[in-house]
């Protein structure tokens, strides 16, 4: 190899493209094969990312409650709203009457929050954002702890405010 006669990099492009294509094709082939023969079955090629599909409990049942049903339960005073966000965000604003049970600190707050709560009580967890998982994780935890009526109001803080429903906080 000589260091004194450089050629234009473009002279190498066909080989470069071949390598790129080989790596892409190999990755795709192996990826699809492993997914097909994965023990327990792979994931479908097209997934279901609807709210009902994403926010399910261990049995696959949807935990989602609609804003309409959540509002009615709130008006009839038969629901406990749990805000799964951090205390800072909770202090800035939250659904009126909600209690703060931050998911990342759930062990420290849980006993205090559920004290005196009937096991069949309707509990609606919420956080903020379409993809926020805190409320889902919290509701799964509550179900495991013996509260079968734990529900999730997806993107709860935003949709509640958008409807002009009562809020409180600084």
């Amino acid at each position: 190899m000589s260091d004194s006669h450089p050629t234009a990099p473009i002279a190498r492009v066909p080989a470069l493209l071949r390598q790129v294509i080989y790596i892409l094709v190999l990755s795709a082939l192996v990826g699809f094969m492993v997914n097909t023969f994965r023990p327990g079955g792979g994931i479908p090629l097209i997934g279901d990312f609807s709210e009902d599909a994403r926010f399910t409990d261990g049995t696959g049942e949807s935990m989602v409650i609609t804003l309409h049903d959540a509002t009615r339960a709130w008006q009839e005073n038969r629901v406990l709203f749990l805000d799964a966000r951090s205390p800072d965000l909770f202090a800035q604003g939250h659904i009126k009457g909600a209690k703060n049970l931050p998911w990342q600190d759930v062990d420290n707050y849980f006993m205090e929050i559920i004290d005196g709560l009937a096991s069949d009580a309707l509990i609606i967890s919420y956080c903020d954002g379409e993809t926020c998982e805190l409320s889902h994780d919290l509701s799964l935890f509550l179900k495991d702890m013996g509260f079968p009526n734990a529900k999730v109001l997806v993107n709860g803080w935003t949709v509640w405010q958008e409807q002009g429903l009562p809020v409180e906080g600084s």
């Binding site: 190899m1 000589s2 260091d3 006669h5 450089p6 050629t7 234009a8 990099p9 002279a11 190498r12 080989a15 470069l16 493209l17 071949r18 390598q19 790129v20 080989y22 790596i23 892409l24 190999l26 990755s27 795709a28 192996v30 990826g31 699809f32 492993v34 997914n35 792979g42 994931i43 479908p44 090629l45 097209i46 997934g47 990312f49 994403r54 990342q104 954002g129 379409e130 993809t131 926020c132 998982e133």
Partner: protein, 155 residues
């Protein structure tokens, strides 16, 4: 290529190989979790999420493997830089619009949202990957002996 350039080239190659192989492992083990992480970034249509979750981890593994073994290095380096550019664009876009989602870059179970450290880390990998492409092109732009012989003037 001078000695220190050669050492730098191979160091960057091995660093990026380790990063890409490490990044692929958890995603290959848990494609469902990775699909969820991709969905959370909200940049791909739903119909492309699972296909990406199936192929991308293996692409990362093959790229890492090629860099580690120094096989098809120019192609692997270009793919590394391409992927890092895409990742960087997604991270920047989501940080700019304030989307609080986990990166999913190295772990599908990471609950911590992206922050400036994620951005800076990806910046570093982006610079390294384009540096590797530049070094690879520089290295492969040198003429090989058979070509040198064929262009020698007759006589």
């Amino acid at each position: 290529m001078k000695n220190y350039q050669r050492v730098t080239f191979h160091t960057i190659r091995l660093i990026l190989a380790a990063v890409f192989i490490y990044a692929s492992i958890d995603k290959i083990i848990n494609p469902e979790g990775f699909a969820k992480a991709i969905f959370n970034h909200q940049v791909l249509p739903d119909s492309l999420i699972n296909v990406t979750a199936i192929v991308l981890p293996w692409l990362e593994l093959f790229i890492g493997g090629c860099l580690l073994l120094n096989v098809w290095t120019p192609g692997a380096a270009l793919l590394t830089a391409g992927l890092m550019t895409v990742f960087m664009a997604v991270v920047s876009f989501n940080l700019a619009r304030g989307l609080d989602v986990a990166c999913g870059c190295f772990s599908t179970t990471d609950a911590k949202g992206m922050d400036m450290m994620t951005f800076l880390r990806d910046c570093l990998f982006l610079v390294l990957s384009w540096g590797l492409v530049a070094a690879t092109f520089k290295k492969s732009s040198r003429i090989i002996p058979s070509q040198q012989a064929s262009i020698k003037p007759a006589g």
